[in-house]
Amino acid sequence: MTTISTEQVAAIARLARLAPDEAQLETFARQFGDILGYMEMLNGLDTTGVEPLYSPVQHATALRPDEAAPRCTREDVLRNAPEADQEFFIVPRIV
């Protein structure tokens, strides 16, 4: 049985920039325990010498010629910003 503490969940949440409250932490901890416990079945499978398969794609990446061409306008880029002026995205002051 895998157990995950609420402290561990809180640490993961910090890395992922999430902020579960106390009740959510407990729920997530219990569910992660179940889910990771279920995943322990993989340990029963001997994969020695098996090359990991990270993608089903068989071909190599096709490269792009080095040609510069604009794809859109600054207005397109800034249009959906929660906060922007005519030139920049704006965020609360860093440091």
Binding site: V9, I12, A13, L15, A16, R17, L18, A19, P20, Q24, F28, Q31, F32, D34, I35, L36, Y38, M39, M41, L42, N43, L45, T47, V50, E51, P52, L53, Y54, S55, P56, V57, H59, T61, A62, R64, R71, C72, D76, V77, R79, N80, A81, P82, E83, F89, V91, P92, R93, I94
Partner: protein, 495 residues
């Protein structure tokens, strides 16, 4: 709804396309019929997140003005598109609050192909948030309901697309399939759903969930319609490095060439017959296999011995990729930002905590955990090794047969709210679909009748070799033609 409208929306995509091309129907008539049907069914099923409404009538009129174009294989055909695909000028939410009213300036490759082919895009369909779910109950907005019984789920995550097609709101829809998200809702809603080979359809403009698993495909009411849509959206895209440069087969030609199933070896994996399958599902699938034999197919026993590991491997790989893919939703450049953040840290955390639903947060954290320092080898790398073994299983099985068959879902559509409290149990619902995404192979789900107990649709999944969509569609077309399709669902309260 007028009788004319009802008659129009009951047509297949291929049929309406031909009538439009012959000018027996105008694009405006067909589009108006769909809008009528949307107005009549949407209150009961909530299949759409964005209904473009009257705007599409103007597009249809413009098409009528220009006249049919033989170079445009979908001229005047109204379709819907899952909200996981970007649509230039139309809000794209991916079923999440975090995207706010994000309106991209760029079309997904597949969407652009539809537009170039002359299709009318009616709206964007509902989905589990970021395609994470099997019931569309994880939509941040509202659950979609099954048009065959609105007390039940349509499946997911492309539940809005499946419901929209089954209810006759449109003639076809694009969905996305990361672990069964096209095939399973197609199964639960009694329509045809195709997940192409990974790399067959460009992922450009598909809001990524599990990048090495995601694939776009059609949901339609007939196999022929699915072939038609795939012909339009398949192909190489230089903007997707994972898209295959292989030529696109002539799918319509493949369909026309096959009249029966003689010579087709159907493999039935032992692991797809085991316990946990509802008897009404087993019975309908068996009847379909019997029919296939009548049509000339032979049945071969095969094994996919690593199938029991697929759920564990999938729920490591998909969340790991998702945890990284969803990092860009940070409230800085687009989408929802928390009100008056104290500082940058607060902006990130609150925008994301408020913007993502529980299931998405659960998978982001799960993925963060399995990639984190000290756990990578035990989880992510191990899962990737298992993934290779799963693919090798498929390769061995497909060396002994032409098509693999099994249920797409172990059960027919369940009631809303029945499984939401237990994520692991919900994950188990994907057992027959997700190993195919791990292997990257194509799979098709066809309706094979209504369950004897529930009266809800049962779907049969047919899986094939990489880039073998032509063979798969041709075999499915013969079988589905013999079995018949359920057609348009009633989609109303108390049905």
């Amino acid at each position: 709804m007028s009788d004319t409208s009802t008659a129009i929306v009951s047509l297949s995509l291929a049929d309406v396309r031909d009538r439009l091309a012959r000018r027996e129907l105008t694009a405006e008539q067909v589009t108006a019929a769909c809008l009528d049907r949307i107005a009549a069914t949407e209150p009961a099923i909530a299949a759409l997140l964005t209904n473009r409404g009257e705007a599409v009538l103007a597009e249809a009129r413009a098409l009528d003005g220009a006249g049919p174009d033989p170079a445009k294989p979908l001229w005047g055909v109204p379709l819907t598109v899952k909200d996981a695909l970007t649509t230039a000028g139309t809000r794209t939410t991916c079923g999440s609050r975090i995207l706010g009213d994000f309106t991209p300036h760029y079309d997904a490759f597949a969407v652009a192909r539809l537009r170039e082919a002359g299709a009318v895009i009616l709206g964007k369909t509902n989905m589990d948030e970021f395609a994470m779910g099997s019931s569309t109950e994880n939509s941040a907005f509202a659950p979609t309901r099954n048009p065959w019984n609105v007390a039940r789920v349509p499946g997911g995550s492309s539940g809005g697309s499946a419901a929209s097609v089954a209810a006759g709101q449109c003639f076809g829809s694009l969905g996305t399939d990361t672990g069964g998200s096209i095939r399973q809702p197609a199964s639960l809603c009694g329509c045809v759903g195709l997940k192409p080979t990974y790399g067959r359809v460009s992922r450009f403009g598909l809001v990524a969930y599990g990048s090495s698993l995601d694939q776009i495909g059609p949901l339609t009411r007939t196999v022929e319609d699915a072939a038609l849509l795939l012909s339009v959206i398949a192909g190489h895209d230089p903007r997707d490095a994972t898209s295959a440069a292989l030529p696109v087969d002539d799918y319509m030609g493949a369909l026309a060439a096959r009249k029966d199933l003689s010579g087709v070896r159907i493999g039935v994996p032992r692991e797809f017959r085991g316990e946990g399958i509802d008897p009404e599902v087993s019975a309908a699938c068996q009847a379909a296999l019997d029919k296939a034999q009548e049509l000339g197919a032979s049945i071969v026993d095969v094994e996919l011995p690593h199938t029991p590991y697929s759920i564990a491997a999938y729920y490591i790989i998909a969340p790991a990729e998702a945890s990284s893919n969803l990092a860009r939703f940070d409230g800085v450049r687009y989408g929802r930002r928390a009100e008056s953040p104290r500082d940058l840290a607060d902006l990130y955390v609150r925008s994301r905590a408020e913007g993502f639903g529980d299931e998405v947060q659960r998978r982001i954290m799960l993925g963060t955990y399995v990639l984190s320092s000290g756990y990578y080898d035990a989880y992510y790398r191990k899962a990737a090794q298992v993934r290779r073994l799963i693919r090798e299983d498929y390769e061995k099985a497909l060396a002994r047969c032409d098509v693999l068959c099994g249920p797409a879902s172990p059960v027919t559509a369940w009631g809303l709210g029945e499984l939401t409290s237990d994520p692991l149990k919900m994950y188990m619902m994907d057992v027959f679909t997700l190993s195919l995404n791990l292997a990257g192979l194509p799979g098709l789900c066809i309706p094979v009748g209504m369950g004897g107990r529930s009266g809800m649709p049962v779907g049969l999944q047919m899986l094939g070799r990489a880039f073998g969509e032509g063979d798969l569609l041709a075999a499915a077309n013969v079988l589905s033609g013999a079995l018949g399709v359920p057609g348009v669902a009633p989609a109303c309260e108390g049905a």
